[in-house]
């Protein structure tokens, strides 16, 4: 058996005068508080956004869903290297020498044929490191934020597949 000593909380001595002062203070300060909140009843704008009916428009450099414009991609792999969670899968083969010479929008010659460009959105943490290193700016974050899905497999976006390429008109500006 041992004795445990607990520190007693300091409680100021309570006299009858103090008791009445406490009651008075409580009423007075609460009334001040009520006065402050009362002003909010009228003349304040509604700040709540009623989501499904009203959709917020994100700022233009918001980091949401990724989109790779595969035509402008030169398969430099810089995005895959910089990705901290390794969620970008790229495969490219050398372009045959007799094939016609093609260029990206900004004039960089494309020397490799992109065979696969897949981003696993389920792994992606939207840090934005891949888009900043992209030399042709084909990989961008769009402002689209409504893309929940039921299966993990559908979170893998193959940017060469026609159905995913069809988003371009919908989510990429300019």
């Amino acid at each position: 058996m041992e004795t445990i000593h607990l520190k007693k909380q300091i409680e100021p001595e309570l006299t009858i005068g103090k008791w009445f002062k406490n009651v008075y203070d409580a009423v007075r300060t609460t009334a001040i508080g009520m006065g402050i909140t009362f002003k909010y009843v009228w003349g304040r704008e509604v700040v709540t956004i009623e989501y499904p009916e009203v959709r917020e428009e994100l700022p233009s450099n918001s980091r949401s869903r990724l989109y790779n414009d595969a035509e402008n991609c030169i398969s430099c792999l810089q995005c895959a290297v910089s990705c901290p969670v390794d969620c970008i899968y790229i495969a490219a083969v050398k372009r045959p020498t007799d094939a016609p010479k093609i260029k990206t929008k900004d004039g960089t010659p494309i020397r490799l044929d992109l065979k696969q460009y897949t981003i696993d959105t389920a792994l992606c943490m939207y840090c934005g490191l891949c888009t900043t290193v992209c030399p042709t700016e084909c990989l961008t974050h769009t402002t689209d934020y409504e893309y929940a899905s039921y299966t993990l497999a559908s979170m893998k976006y193959d940017y060469l597949a026609p159905d995913i390429r069809a988003w371009r008109t919908r989510i990429v500006k300019s």
Binding site: Q78, A80, Y89, V93, L152
Partner: protein, 208 residues
């Protein structure tokens, strides 16, 4: 400052063998023998180092280096105090095989949680600690995660860690299958290099 502190320490605690290690870049430190750490810390506290900021450990191939970050809030000083202990055996959950060092929890109460964390993460037995339990991992965890040779345990409480039916194997095999399909790509992304190290992928990482 470090030379003076080391000199003072070796006069105050003769067995400490204190040496100042001056660095050209970053922070310098004072290294002492692990056996005299408690006396050294007492001496330093009486010298004015009134706050223990943190205790961290680093795993090297041949030793574990423990760093005590001390601060003096009145004179606005900061000191890294280092000591080395042998690595011991860091597998399993046995305190006896771990390297031993005296706890400084009696000098600064801050050492209580910091030492528990160092024990949990790096496997150092702080002798004389009031309550040396694991802090971030469960009590019956095996191994010490921040050691360089740590391998994730296969079983935890008779449960298989990462059972096959819970792994998203389709995800796991995605890169591998992709590679098989494409044939012999000239370049593949770094995400693939896990199964067989591709020299081109390494090149891509080093280049530019």
């Amino acid at each position: 400052m470090h030379n003076e502190t080391a000199l003072k320490l070796s006069t105050l605690v003769s067995s400490s063998n204190a040496k100042a290690v001056m660095a050209t870049l970053g922070d310098s430190n004072v290294t002492v023998d692990s056996g005299s750490i408690l006396e050294v810390c007492r001496a330093l506290k009486s010298e004015g180092y009134n706050v223990l900021q943190c205790i961290t450990a680093t795993d090297y191939a041949d030793r574990i280096e423990i760093t005590y970050v001390l601060a003096d809030f009145t004179k606005n000083l900061e000191l890294l105090l280092k000591t080395n202990v042998p690595r011991g055996d860091g597998n399993g959950n046995n305190k006896d095989t771990l390297p031993k060092i005296n706890s400084v929890a009696s000098v600064w109460r801050a050492a209580d949680f910091q030492e528990r964390e160092a024990y949990d993460m790096m496997g150092i037995n702080f002798v004389g600690h009031p309550d040396l339990r694991r802090i971030l991992t469960p009590d019956d965890w095996q191994g010490y995660p921040l050691r360089k040779d740590y391998i994730v345990q296969e079983k935890y409480l008779d449960m298989v860690v990462n059972p096959a039916h819970k792994i998203n194997s389709a995800d796991h095999m995605f890169g591998k299958n992709l590679k098989l399909e494409i044939g012999d790509p000239k370049k593949v992304s770094a995400s693939w290099k896990s199964d067989d190290a591709d020299p081109t992928a390494e090149e891509a990482k080093d280049g530019e």
